[in-house]
């Protein structure tokens, strides 16, 4: 009998705690405060039964991830739905310089690396840089940097180098 009373009391206590848990409105406010603290702007939070739904538009995917993590960290939030939180459409890159100009720039940048034994051919067509030939594994990143950083707004870097 004693055990039963204890069980009932425990249940009653649990129910009482739930009822007194943070309301959706409290959670919504806590989530917004958390976002403000993390300097995330442009996000609207709605909370229903402890489930937060984020909406709005943020600068990029890193801000979206940050917003999701921030709201998730609020005590009492069970889950976070970010399906309605979009990232800003990205602008298109500026048009590329003439192919020959990009080609000369990349060739010069690779020459300046002073690689020994490398045999790299650079071709540029429609702003797309294609690298062919051989490169040592240790030099690949340097060559890719040279191609990626070339002035002239290349539209793409195709790495067809054989890595030795």
């Amino acid at each position: 009998m004693k055990v039963k009373v204890f069980t009932v009391l425990t249940l009653a206590c649990a129910l009482f705690m739930m009822a007194c848990g943070k309301s959706d409105a409290d959670l919504q406010k806590a989530a917004m405060d958390k976002l403000t603290a993390e300097k995330v702007t442009g996000v609207t939070v709605a909370v229903k039964d402890g489930v937060a739904t984020l909406s709005g538009e943020v600068a990029d995917a890193t801000v979206k991830g940050k917003a999701e993590a921030a709201v998730k960290s609020v005590e009492g939030i069970k889950s976070v739905d970010v399906a309605k939180l979009t990232t800003k459409p990205l602008p298109t890159p500026p048009p590329p310089s003439p192919d020959k100009m990009i080609e000369g720039t990349v060739n010069e940048a690779i020459k300046k690396l002073g690689l020994t034994g490398a045999n790299i051919t650079v071709t540029v067509s429609g702003g797309v840089i294609t690298l062919t030939g051989d490169v040592a594994k240790a030099d690949l990143t340097k060559v890719m940097q040279a191609a990626n950083e070339a002035k002239g707004n290349a539209t793409k870097v195709e790495n067809k180098l054989t890595v030795k």
């Binding site: 990205l90 602008p91 298109t92 000369g104 060739n107 690949l140 990143t141 539209t155 870097v157």
Partner: protein, 124 residues
């Protein structure tokens, strides 16, 4: 999966190590143009790029990160003269007339026929 999501850890690393960047996207390629606070920070980003795409084969990212030191010259495009070069030969490598190079380098050149190995010519 969007390209931003594919390279999310790279972008998060940029935020964490103090690299400022701007994104643009065209023809299925994500362009990350930015400025890193140090060579180490830039190397971290490239290490992450290589981790995500070993040997850089996907061709869907342009990672153009400058560092303060490397870009001190205002990012000018230059060419270092080699033995056997002439202005017209250099011009043909860039698809521009020799006279354009001559005009851009009047400050360091006195005679278009006299250029010397090691000279840094501005490419207009």
């Amino acid at each position: 999966m969007s390209l931003q999501e594919k390279y999310l850890t790279l972008l998060e690393l940029a935020n964490a190590n103090g690299t400022s960047y701007e994104l643009s996207e065209g023809d299925g390629v994500l362009h990350v143009n930015g400025s890193a606070p140090s060579e180490e920070a830039k190397a971290e980003l490239w290490a992450e790029y290589e981790r995500l795409d070993p040997e850089y084969r996907a061709g869907d990212l342009i990672l153009n990160i400058t560092t303060g030191a490397g870009d001190a010259g205002g990012g000018a495009n230059t060419y270092t003269v080699e033995s056997g070069d002439s202005l017209s030969k250099i011009g043909s490598q860039y698809g521009i007339p020799w006279k354009a190079i001559w005009d851009a380098n009047r400050d360091i050149l006195k005679d278009p026929d006299k250029i010397y190995p090691g000279q840094e010519l501005k490419i207009p």
